[in-house]
Amino acid sequence: MAGAGGGNSDVQWCFSQVKGAIDDDVAEADIISTVEFNHSGELLATGDKGGRVVIFQQEPESKNQPQCRGEYNVYSTFQSHEPEFDYLKSLEIEEKINKIRWLPQKNAAQFLLSTNDKTIKLWKISERDKRPEGYNLKEEDGRYRDLNTVTTLRVPVFRPMDLMVEASPRRVFANAHTYHINSISVNSDCETYLSADDLRINLWNLEINDRSFNIVDIKPTNMEELTEVITAAEFHPNQCNTFVYSSSKGTIRLCDMRASALCDQHAKQFEEPEDPNNRSFFSEIISSISDVKFSHSGRYMMTRDYLSVKIWDLNMESRPVETYQVHEYLRSKLCSLYENDCIFDKFECCWNGNDSVVMTGSYNNFFRMFDRGYRQDVTLEASRENSKPRSVLKPRKVSTGGKRKKDEISVDSLDFNKKILHTAWHPLDNIIAVATTNNLYIFQEKLN
């Protein structure tokens, strides 16, 4: 079985591109912290620990190479967030971009929301390919002309220029979160969005940056009674009144904003009872949900905890409809993973365009795909060794038993510093973006 994807078990994945520095010495600022395609898939945005956003644009398909879909090249780079200092609490606020979310396109410009721990910003990315020339009072380079030399009057005209892509901050949504922001999600009404931190979720209007409504607040009166925090939140893709949020206890709550202004009472609570055989010191940590994503259809949602991916039917709260083990061989290694901090890693997950396949990352630069229809799964690797153009990715296998077969890798040989936390799937095609620590890999389906 070569690969999984698109409901067709014959999909094979090929290397397409890799972005980022080659050398092993990773600068901390270059660590990729979020990856997101826009709604058409033409643009791919990444955020990093240094507060920068890099946007890649897909080249139009060329007639010369119909086998390939267009490559992604740098379209715009800008500094979204800077490090700040909270003087009241004597705390530094990291500039790391936690999430990027694109707005649906309404006109020629593109808009995205990017957030760090405390502040969300709305960025407008627009193209300029013409500029006015022939001013009366200014030279072409901007210097003002000596008025005595102005003897005629003319109307400036627009002339073509080299394409320039400008990113400008249109709104800054600040000072609304006491705790660290972990999620933002744009509503299907395209007018509002939510931002979630550890204990609260706020609702914003995209046009209004000095006010937000608090819609969920799980902060206990006495902080010593704190037992769970919010780990992720997302709006329903079609129903503008519905959103979900996941918790560190492994529960997901679905809320309906029509019910009341403060959605502390959930409409539905999704929770699977814990398997008592798997109880350990670290049960709480590994049941904490690190990501929640609705399917494109809105019928299902997917959650990622440390060891597994679960698909939930919104109509059934008692247990998930599907559970996929990402790296079950790590269950016996939880103590070591606690010591080296890996157990706290927050993996994300994503759906393909028609909700038939889901993908998530693992260690050793492995990532996993689960085909829901064909009940197949595959492990692939993002590495420079497999980076010849259009080379087909070979499935990888981790040997769990005593006997290691050829080409398998043993659990103890896995490199836990090489982790894939962020992945994204093109909304329409079989193109995926996979972020290793500081490199972005783009893989495409092999087209014959």
């Binding site: 530094e92 606020i93 010593e224 925090v229 109880r279 010191f281 709480e284 010591e339």
Partner: protein
């Protein structure tokens, strides 16, 4: 669970506690400040380890026992082998509803340690119950610094007081 297994479990619990404490300390100097989610998970692991530490010590026998008025929060009897259920509540049962009390909270809540806080800096000598993973000196406080999860230097330190400090680490947010 026999005494040997209890000892191994005890050692494991102590090791996990030591690792957790060092992580909690390290997170204080992290860029971006203390992370609530991480601190919560760390304190849950510490509480589990503490519970197991206590229960395995009960099984080991009364040798060198300190007065343990703290009731066992776990449901496991000595005969069972299961890992005890970590309690969802932070507070042990004898703790009053604590609001924003200061360090003197230790006096009323820690029945194991009869001395008032001020005398607590002195070591208790060779009490066998001394958990040796706790640092021997109290962390020096900078002027104006709030007390976070600073384990006390009391040699006979009860781990319930440790959990109190964890609570304060969370409530310091």
């Amino acid at each position: 669970m026999n005494a040997t297994t209890a000892m191994e479990v005890n050692a494991e619990a102590r090791r996990i506690l030591a690792v957790s404490i060092s992580k909690l300390y390290a997170s204080r100097s992290q860029r971006g400040g203390l992370r609530l989610h991480r601190s919560l998970l760390l304190s849950m692991v510490m509480r589990s380890a503490r519970d197991i530490y206590h229960s395995s010590r009960e099984i080991e026998g009364p040798s060198g026992a300190q007065p343990t008025p703290e009731p066992m929060e776990t449901s496991s009897s000595p005969g069972e082998q299961t890992v005890p259920e970590p309690q969802p509540e932070f507070q042990t049962s004898e703790e009053p509803e604590s609001g924003d009390e200061g360090c003197d909270g230790d006096i009323t809540e820690d029945k194991e340690n009869m001395s008032p806080t001020k005398q607590s800096r002195k070591r208790r000598g060779k009490a066998a119950a001394a958990p040796d993973f706790l640092p021997s000196k109290r962390a020096r406080l900078e002027p104006g610094e709030e007390r976070y999860a600073a384990p006390s230097c009391r040699a006979g330190e009860s781990l319930s007081a440790l959990s109190l400090n964890l609570n304060r680490a969370i409530s310091a947010f």
